[in-house]
Symmetry: C2
Subunit: 330 residues, 2 copies
Amino acid sequence: MRKGIITSADVARMAEVSQSAVSRTFTPGASVSKETKARVLEAAEALGYRPNALARAMISGQSKMIAMMFAYLENQFYPVLLEHMCRALQAKGYHPLLFMTETGNQDDVVRRLMDYQVQGLVLVSATLSSDLATRCGELGIPVLLLNRETEDGTASCVASDNFGGGRMVAEHFINTGRKKIAYIAGDENSSTNRDREAGLLSGLKEHGMQLHARAVANYNHDQATQVANAMLAADDRPDAIFVANDYMAFAVIDVIRDKFGLSVPKDIAVAGYDDVPEASWAPYQLTTVRQSSEAMTDNAVMLLTEQIDGKRVEPQTIRLPAELIVRASA
Amino acid sequence: MRKGIITSADVARMAEVSQSAVSRTFTPGASVSKETKARVLEAAEALGYRPNALARAMISGQSKMIAMMFAYLENQFYPVLLEHMCRALQAKGYHPLLFMTETGNQDDVVRRLMDYQVQGLVLVSATLSSDLATRCGELGIPVLLLNRETEDGTASCVASDNFGGGRMVAEHFINTGRKKIAYIAGDENSSTNRDREAGLLSGLKEHGMQLHARAVANYNHDQATQVANAMLAADDRPDAIFVANDYMAFAVIDVIRDKFGLSVPKDIAVAGYDDVPEASWAPYQLTTVRQSSEAMTDNAVMLLTEQIDGKRVEPQTIRLPAELIVRASA
DNA sequence: AAACGCGTTGCATACGAATGCAAAACATGT
DNA sequence: ACATGTTTTGCATTCGTATGCAACGCGTTT
């Protein structure tokens, strides 16, 4: 047993009250008189007492912990999201328990997070396996997809208007006279990729155009470098490329300039998605679609807490407005 | 009460054994016969039972949770560190509970993390308030500083050989003929900054040189932009700048090229510290000192678990070798 | 057959706080 | 004064699991 653990019983003894009184003092809205509360607080202060969150969680069923699952953090958008999410949760008295999943390993991770009686599960840019969804459904744990959407109604979703964002890029390219517009996809199984691409195609179609080239890079920097190389080596180069996120767009710009000696945007315009901090840095000056990480996380926390508090039972999807940020790259 | 919570008692009933048998089945090294274990596992599987980590933590004192405290995640080195740390902890059966602190707010955050009976506290690039140190000492919670050092022996530390790294940069600058070497500092209260700067100065001194200019940018991108502007606007420009980390170095390079139209490294050489992924990207090609995030986190987890298991009681400091990565920027 | 040892098993309790219930204390009305 | 209503308080129990202790079964030895 660790030394120096002060329990509510210790405080009770010192304040000459029952353990219940101590508990009630630390339970907002419980029935305690002003005097006893004061005495308890005094004793607690003197002893350095703080209620044991684990014991509290056991009896109340409120662990005040939220699991956050990531596959990777390389894309600079995720740390930003994580930081804001963490702050927003803290502000509401919740605490994020972090899990990294490998593609194969997901089941193991899920089992572990269930063990901790988390009150919610946030999947960041990850696809929800139906197995996971049903398991969480059985336990009544609300699931929220951040930066992804699902149609089956098993989880809440918070994302930006990816379709609209894709359309904005198409229109911008067309308005600035681009004719041969290409797309470099992220993970083809992800809703974000699907919607961004669909938006782009919709915009093109409206102007009687069609996609000039297409490649898949799975939201991965190295793969983006490779497919950009291949795309530029082809006979008929695009004059504009919409890359499914900023992180890959940086790789594409590097290839255009560094490997092929071409100019951005003169020879080839490039647009990304996310508006990560690096997008505004001098070498890139990336035209991109901004999705506000603050708005996303604030809404995510709101949805989660509403579901936890039982105010809302049904999962809900929130689609936030996207904004085109025009910089030098397009 | 949430529906669908299966307890060890439920499993015991189904397997026709006592609750103790179920518990022992899931406690490695406990005394259970092969047969009962098999029956329990079968029943557990059928019911979908998993031991409640919170209840387990209460009785055993092993929450298997580690608190990780960050001040910010902008610097790309931290997400990398966080990801590796999280994976390494998971592999050992621990789980990181994440806390973001604002500079003022630190005490509140610390109180909250203590409530969760975490078995260790990792401070990432944060200075350890003596208050925090003593409080953790009283509760017997090992504290570890990641990417920072402290001399008072109250916490374990894992960092790279920042002094050596600074010296390497000095030597490289000198060997490549630089005469007017400047330093842009991070947070002056941080050990990393102190050591990197001391290393640089030591290297200069050995060759009879001294620092040509100096500014402080607190590991902040915007501040780095500002002080770089000021430094370059001065009469006698440096011909080499050692920036205390990569994240600021990117800002400095942007200023050199974009605001002043100068060339890196022809006019001014720039070196950073960390070797974040972005350092190898085409626009920067940053010469920098690599500190291996894998090595840092592996050692951190090792130290922590040793202290938790009681194999080692005294805090320990591990200083990992640094490696100069020469790229085009210097 | 009795004595011994060892591996299993169940009982009962503990961890630390929250809460339903009933007793107690207090305030209010007539 | 008494009856009534309201707040405050403590007792006892609960959450779900781990574990010390004693009992038990079984095999081995003398």
